[in-house]
Symmetry: C2
Subunit: 378 residues, 2 copies
């Protein structure tokens, strides 16, 4: 199979599935994993030399569905406003590829996938995966599709971490990077929030040490984890604007029921999430981002970034306290030290970490200008 040559509108898209590594691969953790299926989508058309390919990488709860609409879909892709003809990631110029990460639960092999050896889900026997492993799987898919370099790797949050990792371990592939609301390594606070989320899941007896059946997972624990996640994705000012202290009706003096609007929001959001996300996947993906340290293979951030050959656009948001601007600022300074071309911008917004999925009008011109010229040449 090669990448489809037919023009693809971003209105209607389908997810494709490709199986790679028929003979298995050894992951960072030292364990083997057999054939890996990758879910992926494509928006736009490759040029003859396939030099106009952009890889976009999703965040913790995302998937391959980055743009357009599925036939039965109620929601567009997670960066739909940024990907399309004439949009920031312009599908009339570029061919955008998006994959679900290794360890995910939206079509790519992960803990919920069936282990051919047992015909049961891998569950807790799934090997721990790293951001670097995710990148290896993405590269294998791209090679399989006849692609040998990337005009850009782009992503927000965990996706931005993948983009940075790409530029360091495959410098010959990556001509530019757009990393948004991301970091080179998690702070202890970011690790701590993830650990509470993981503990909420593993404390749920329905987790059963990870060996739950599909549809009978630790929904209560996963809901707690997701509620906490949502708090960290919003800013204090944004919550004040959105919810204040408003309550539906007078306070009921009841313990154990949501009353304030902010409580109802968390309840509603998490109730939807537990139906569509695998709890074990959340454990594995949060571990992957906690372990990630861009500097780890080279000893220092500067040495790691000295390997890169890309131009960088690094975007943060003023009210993002989960991935505070200081983290990508640190990366920008290190890139500057090693003489790489880097544009760093902190966008004023009260949307918190969620801003990378919401503030399209502020991101689009910066990305469009950055991708403007030259970088599709190999």
């Amino acid at each position: 199979m090669t990448i489809a040559d037919a023009s693809t509108t971003v209105d209607r898209v389908t997810t494709r599935f490709t199986t790679l590594f028929d003979h298995g691969i050894t992951l960072d953790c030292g364990r083997r994993l057999g054939a890996i299926t990758v879910a992926w989508e494509q928006y736009g058309t490759p040029n003859r030399d396939r030099t106009n390919v952009i890889l976009v990488c999703h965040a913790l709860s995302g998937g391959a569905h980055a743009a357009g609409w599925h036939e039965d879909g109620a929601r567009p892709g997670w960066w739909n406003e940024l990907i399309g003809p004439g949009r920031a990631f312009d599908t009339s110029r570029f061919c955008i590829v998006s994959t679900n990460v290794l360890g995910g639960c939206y079509g790519t092999t992960g803990p919920a996938s069936i282990d051919p050896a047992t015909l049961l889900p891998h569950g807790p026997d799934f090997p721990v995966v790293t951001i670097w492993d995710m990148v290896r799987v993405q590269r294998a898919l791209l090679e399989h599709l006849g692609v040998t370099s990337l005009a850009c790797v782009a992503g927000g949050s965990m996706g931005g971490m993948q983009a940075l990792a790409w530029s360091v371990i495959h410098p010959e592939w990556v001509r530019s990077v757009v990393a948004v609301a991301a970091t080179d390594r998690h702070s202890p606070r970011q690790i701590a929030f993830n650990e509470v989320a993981r503990r909420a899941i593993t404390a749920d007896p329905a987790w059963r040490e990870g060996r739950y059946e599909a549809g009978a997972g630790p929904e209560s624990g996963l809901a707690v984890a997701r509620m906490l996640g949502h708090i960290t994705y919003l800013s204090e000012a944004g919550m004040e604007r959105k919810f204040g202290r408003r309550a539906r009706g007078p306070l009921g003096f009841v313990v154990g029921q949501p009353e304030f609007e902010v409580e109802r929001y968390l309840d509603h959001q998490s109730a939807g999430f537990v139906k569509r996300f695998d709890a074990n996947s959340l454990l594995y993906l949060t571990k992957a981002i906690d372990y990630f340290d861009l500097a780890e293979r080279e000893g220092s951030l500067e040495s790691a970034l000295a390997r890169t050959r890309a131009r960088f656009l690094l975007l943060t948001f003023s009210s993002d306290w989960l991935y505070p601007p200081s983290q990508l600022e640190r990366v920008a300074r290190a890139l500057d030290v090693v003489g790489r071309s880097v544009t760093y911008r902190c966008i004023r917004s009260d949307s918190g970490h969620d801003a990378f999925l919401l503030e399209h009008d502020r991101q689009a011109p910066l990305i469009r200008r950055f991708l403007g010229s030259g970088i599709t040449s190999p």
Copy 2:
């Protein structure tokens, strides 16, 4: 019983228990509660007119044990460094009284107390309590002890909320207020964090709708709630300094076990907490602080504070993001508008919200100076 006249050293203290409201009281929620036992401690000696009494009020997980050591105690009281002969709350001048709040689990009547009607713990049948209810019970205890006014009401976090409430509903009682790391009302973010903590508890099947037996409560859920609490009590910089990304040994590529030092800290702290705190109490006390709005009875913060006759010392900490300085700044501005004497200070610290229990050297001189003169006169 009246307040003990004998001099009390703060070295060795005992908790006393007094039962009030033999005929019951009607709480803010409209429900009746029978006789209420209050756990309290005393440090220092009252003067003849009992005009030198200071009430200190504890935070969410505290109790009456504010200073000195219990006979079998491994830890001193929670404000031990601030209370004692020659200390900020000087027991050679003042008589300090500390109580466990209504709804608590350290000796005062709360959801874990036995309901005389059923001979079982109240559990989820305990009426919802408010900060105002806590204040009423404290006042009843003080009246019982022959006290009719307070030189000062002081407290941090939830304790600071009680101190502010005291000054508004019993202005004739309160000559000064020291409120630290507190607020006049919770923001939606503060409510949201509490709701996640509550959900972690109620999602634990061992919670049994609140009808668990003593020693068989929802320890897993309570641990998750406490882990989350600890994150919000620390600052990002403090966590960086304290833990960084250090791990005990190389990362184990294991899902579901604490590896990073910050994870071990949260695990250790929460494991101790679940042995000493009642999960239902946490539900009730977090509700009380979420409901609290100092302005609610008067329509505006200014109108509420116009009732007060006290002088105010309001202290915040620069890195406290759970109770951000802006909250007590708002109270200070409102006090200024209505012409009250107020000293507001934001203390530079990287200890986050925990600073009110840690930064003694920075708080002590401010409190000592504030309490310096005049205010013991009725």
